[in-house]
Subunit: 425 residues, 2 copies
């Protein structure tokens, strides 16, 4: 008997899902004994449906899918947190399983949605919400379950990783962003990527799973890459390091420590080899030790791979009977480590006017942080700037912030933006 | 209600499993709602049970586990293909699910065991059989199912990867082997590792899953690392490459292409960064593109992580009811690409006596293979050897083999072993 699927959203990922279902329908039937039938497709753009030859099952109204008693699985791929949420909740109320790639929604209302699914005995699967095609959600839920997870560190935003890779090759921030936009990796408004919000949503989801307690996007201390430039990557490379925007979720005795920020890490670290738009998630468990999952973090076909693999898992569960097997969904709220007082070693770069009288040692001393080594000065004659670079002993971010704020008050001293990057072992 | 587990084997991995179950019993109960009880432990070495404080549930006779009607899951960790097979088959006949790390058995009799499990409606789980703690079996079975898998390339033997890493640092083969043995990474008889047999068993298992047809260890064209030495890794490095023992399973239009051999691959390849005893499996799917899974490929606690995660999956399935959801097990035999006529580009090193009259160009021409570039000569004055190094255009292995065999017939010409390494993009 066929398992009927309703798809909402015919954009990049939705189109990819139609491709997978069309390409592999017969393979799924032969190899898995599953007849997956795309029964209904909904979006606001009929042309996209036409381009994928599904006009005959197309509708503009998602209620046509919800109200179809034969559809057992709804795929939600419209994104956003309003209509998408209505679709998912109405699908659950109508007794349908849901597959979604919607990280923004899950990082804000994941507990509500999963609790509702559990009440109805239905599954909401969301492998595609983090790391595109990379299997990471299911490995955390099904393959690392023998462990207490100690730490997660991920490169989970392909846009910023692409930009940092190009900046490592000498591009300025502006050049790297423009190229990412021209290639379709970055939106016209790149805020969600470059300010780390996309990565924050993803680490909230991963931390919720790994630490079995609710972490939302609002719990993530988030710092983006806007103030970085090629010189920072050049200096990192000279020291045998690289700079990545890391999404980090640590399990500590005081609670969950969850944050997104530019990070300087050793070139030997497995994550430092992740280039361009590729993603990787590095997970440490108390028994398994270090593991890493690598692949395409976005794109039509990779993300569709994750969506349809979720559909297949649900279809298998339907076929073999039995209930949903995901355990309790994030029922309790996580305790959090205060980010305000947390201390880290930092890389600090101050672009100062060549003509200014500025003593970097005095600055550090007055600001109240200790330098690990003598500061360096990089002269840029063309622009009349000296970049002072400091590596600090562990210090609170607020200490550095206050020091930087005190500087910007002195007119004409600070030339451009300063960079503050955490050191990661 | 508790789920009772019987463990057979109290060595490295068995001991690790006892550790996990003791450490995390209460966590599993709280987070997953599973009360996993280690009910009975069997091995031939009571002292190992004593060391793990399980003497009270210890027995020397595995039938005590098979005949205990309350035990629902048997963990088999004794290895080998005789008694281990009896234990697994008897456990299935007694209605018990099985978890095993036994790659040798699965690569020889996997179809028989899985078919029997299917007949009984039981699960045989074996995540720990490949890549130690790395989630790779379940990702292939549950997370990449939307894809046709195109290619698998794995560093799946930690011992040889450790040796190659040390040889890359200048150790001779003999020194690297001796160190691996002194650290407990290699057995006194290192055959299974250095001749590639362990890797062959693992790629047979991965290929069977990925290509949904039976591949056994006997189907794998296997070449080990015995003839390599530090000079090969040095030359590779000079060319921006590294040498790894790769286990490869490709899906081609003519059948499955499955082999294990030393491979020279570019330093930028994700697998080239995998150092020491770490393992990684690189999987390419038609929709997901390239993915990689990295972690500890062996060891007590990492491997136990995979075993107990399998136990948890089975326990969840028992708790929520419903049947086994793994689809048909490798029911048909794979078609295979003939390795005899397959052509690859090779790195070829011939150690020739300094005093011999030897023309490498004439040798290549006579042997019938074409060189990609002019050959190089590395003089080793101390030992009186010239190492001639050639990079060939695609050629059949048998052509090279015949050429090398013709050489060794000439007394006093070949000094030591020649190295034949395939080039991988």
């Amino acid at each position: 008997m066929s398992i009927k699927i309703g798809l909402v959203g015919t954009g990049t990922v939705g189109g990819g899902c139609i491709d997978v279902l069309q390409t592999h329908h017969d393979d799924f039937a032969r190899d898995l004994g599953l007849d997956l039938e795309l029964a209904r497709v909904c979006s606001l753009i009929p042309e996209q449906a036409e381009a994928h030859h599904v006009s005959d099952i197309f509708t503009l109204d998602y209620h046509d899918l919800i109200n179809d008693p034969e559809i057992q699985i709804i795929i939600e791929l419209i994104g956003g947190t309003t209509i998408a949420k209505s679709i998912i909740c109405e699908a659950l109320e109508a007794g349908k399983h849901v597959v979604t790639a919607n990280k923004a929604l899950l990082a804000r209302a994941g507990d509500e949605i999963l609790t509702r699914a559990n009440e109805f005995g239905l599954e909401v699967a969301f492998e595609a919400s983090v790391g595109g095609g990379i299997p990471i959600i299911r490995p955390l839920m099904h393959s690392l379950t023998a462990n207490s997870i100690i730490s997660i560190m991920g490169i989970v935003n392909g846009t910023t990783n692409y930009m940092l890779t190009r900046m490592d090759e000498g591009f300025s921030y502006a050049e790297a962003l423009a190229e990412a936009q021209s290639k379709g990796y970055a939106e016209a408004d790149p805020t969600a990527d470059v300010d780390g919000l996309d990565a924050a949503a993803k680490i909230a989801i991963l931390s919720s799973i790994a630490y079995k307690s609710l972490v939302t996007i609002d719990d993530v201390a988030t710092q983006g890459i806007r103030t970085l430039d090629a010189i920072d990557l050049k200096i990192a490379k000279e020291r045998g390091c690289c700079i990545k925007l890391l999404a980090i979720g640590n399990n500590t005795k005081d609670g969950v420590d969850v944050r997104v920020h530019p990070s300087m890490l050793p070139a030997e670290h497995p994550l430092s080899q992740v280039k361009g738009v590729m993603n990787a998630i590095y997970v440490v468990g108390d028994f398994v030790g270090e593991t890493m999952y690598y692949g395409a973090g976005a794109g039509s076909h990779p993300t569709a791979s994750a969506v349809i693999s979720d559909v297949i898992e649900i279809a298998r569960n339907i076929e073999c009977g039995g209930g949903v097997r995901l355990g309790k969904p994030w029922s309790k709220r996580a305790a959090f480590v205060s980010q305000k007082d947390a201390e880290f070693s930092y890389y600090l770069r101050l672009p100062v006017s060549l003509s200014a009288a500025f003593d970097v040692q005095v600055f550090a001393k007055k600001a109240g942080f200790v330098l690990k080594e003598a500061p360096c000065a990089y002269h840029d004659q063309a622009s009349g700037i000296i970049h002072y670079v400091m590596f600090t002993e562990p210090a609170a971010y607020k200490t550095l912030e206050a020091a930087l704020n005190s500087l910007t008050c002195q007119d004409g001293l600070l030339m451009g933006t300063s960079a503050v990057i955490r050191m990661v072992d």
